[in-house]
Symmetry: C2
Subunit: 217 residues, 2 copies
């Protein structure tokens, strides 16, 4: 199981990578992952790895691919289930674990050469994320619990690499009624204090259950 962990930092979409400290790939960078334990459901594996690395639980995780070419890993036949995870930049502390020499967020547009086919996995994960974001507001998972409309818009712009018209975007989002106005303002900004919103998960889940999609462009 390998995990493409996405995070937003400023105007950049980042992926969490680790540097191996032992074995045949010592010193090389890679996606976090692990062999599927025989006593653990496959779908539990991403949560276990994420807990170890970031201390975070209840993170948004989704399977997006399975890689099974014969020679994708050099020394043995390995089939990997590839998940992506979206984590909020609010608070977490990176713990590299025993087998890692280093752990680092890297810009999605500037990933070094990784082991095996991990660059390919990241590319596919990114495509899967973009595809999903075009019909569902999954990007809220990357934002703090409370966020401004500008942050929300920038999240779309950063991930999808597009420019959105602010007035039209706000009109659309507010009309859809999936954000809750907290009536609080962001403090300590050297300009007009923006309003803070939270995501209305219940409302959105109801819409989604009815087959509704939130299409941005």
């Amino acid at each position: 199981m390998d995990c493409v962990i996405f995070g937003l930092e400023g105007d950049e979409l980042k992926v969490l990578l680790i540097q191996h400290d032992e074995g045949p790939v010592e010193g090389q960078w890679a996606l976090p992952g692990d062999y599927v334990r025989f006593d653990i459901d496959l779908e539990e594996m991403p949560s276990i790895v994420l807990k170890q690395l970031t201390g975070l639980e209840n993170v948004f995780v989704e399977l997006f691919d399975v890689l099974g070419k014969i020679n994708r890993v050099t020394h043995q036949r390995v089939i990997t289930a590839a998940y992506f995870a979206l984590i909020s930049t609010e608070k977490y502390e990176l713990k590299k674990g025993l087998e890692a020499r280093d752990i680092k967020w890297m810009d999605i547009h500037n990933i070094p050469k990784l082991i095996y086919d991990h660059n390919e996995i990241i590319n596919r994960g990114y495509e899967a994320l973009k595809l999903k974001l075009r019909r569902e507001p999954v990007g809220v998972e990357l934002l703090p619990r409370q966020f401004t409309l500008t942050q929300f818009q920038k999240m779309y712009e950063t991930i999808l690499d597009i420019k959105l018209d602010t007035r039209n975007f706000r009109k659309k989002i507010l009309k859809e009624d999936i954000l809750i106005d907290t009536n609080q303002k962001e403090l300590n900004v050297p300009y007009r204090a923006p309003n803070l919103y939270t995501f209305n998960a219940e409302k959105y889940d109801t819409l989604k259950a009815k087959g509704y999609f939130l299409n941005i462009y």
Copy 2:
């Protein structure tokens, strides 16, 4: 690897199932599938199984899930990659193979109890198909090479379990310009002979590459 093979027969969406003839699940119905061979890329497995069962090649196949709960198979730990395949009702001949006692198309809404979690796999495959069909006209893969607009509309209605307005549907599809008018008519029908179309794959692929989606409702 297990495979949910979809086909259209009349107004019904069907799934191809086989009845095992040996082993611990003798006599029980199941999805076609096989253990992943060590000398074969995982993604080649569905084609191999499909070739055996139907004689068809170059069939539309896509991964939609991976099932990996500890006890999903009773006697050992098995993780399965689940693919769906869309096959045209034009012509194929079912060959049940050596290990199967019988092979049969079954209505998606009337599937008997299958081995392990295969009912669950079918449900998930059906959901994946519906989701995909709502933005891409993958359903053409279920139709003959030449088809009428009515067949095309019925395909959407059958799979998505909805009713579409014929005039609006035709207007939309023809405006999108992804069907090619063959200028041929269906013969031997006891009513006004309908026009036949083929799918304009090149045109559609161009649109798709630009990020276009064909949304039906």
